[in-house]
Symmetry: C2
Subunit: 110 residues, 2 copies
DNA sequence: GTATATACCTAATAATTCTAGGTAGGTGAA
DNA sequence: TTCACCTACCTAGAATTATTAGGTATATAC
């Protein structure tokens, strides 16, 4: 939907925000982002899974397996205390970025 | 200033917007972005020059040399009709992107 | 004559995303 | 019962873009 490069860099912000609301598994994150963005943010699995693994290494999130009665097991992710700090930073950065951009390109156009 | 990946993808939008206001040369674009963003967007020359050359190939902009009485010659860039179309698209895309993101991460925080 | 500012440029590296696969469990229809 | 499809995980290679770290040249100030 969006220019791939424009959205680049907001993956971790989005994931941390969703996990801050509740624990989710990878496949669910993809569907949830699609749903809540009205199909505007269609993150690919090939983008999400490596990003999750990186954030796990950085200890922004941690995971646990949950077997299902039906279907494949799910790997749930939970945000850590450190992850919440990063989320706050990234959110603040996002808002500053939008302000700066809007100043430059004109807030009121189309 | 900002996460390098967050800003990725907005280079062409920024350049087209500035050139839509008036013709500028590369070095000036770098300084002008820095100034108008209160030093938040410090685009590197290594980012800008290749981006300008690409947009020239795409015919979004065109250039002309202007010799100076003092100092090195300047390569001025002018936005084309096609560039103006792209600018309108990119601007609209930017605003949609901000809306979608704000919906997901919560408009009112920090 | 040396440092600094202006003004252009590029090759190599880094970071991220997408493409295009793969594995496996379970359901429903022909 | 086989084939398609959905769930759910994963990764290697290609593509894109930004930064780093240089280079060239003109002109001014000390």
């Amino acid at each position: 939907m969006f220019n791939r490069e424009l959205v680049k860099g907001s993956t971790s912000l989005l994931v941390l925000q969703l996990l801050n609301e509740r624990d989710m598994y990878g496949y669910e994150l993809v569907k949830e982002m699609d749903r809540r963005s009205d199909h505007n943010l269609q993150m690919k699995e090939g983008t999400l899974y490596p990003a999750l693994h990186k954030m796990e290494k950085q200890e922004y999130i941690e995971c646990y397996w949950q077997n299902q009665k039906k279907g494949p097991a799910r790997k749930y992710y939970r945000i850590t205390a450190q992850g919440k700090e990063i989320l706050a930073e990234r959110t603040s950065e996002w808002h500053r970025y939008v302000q700066v951009m809007n100043n430059l390109i004109g807030k009121n156009e189309s």
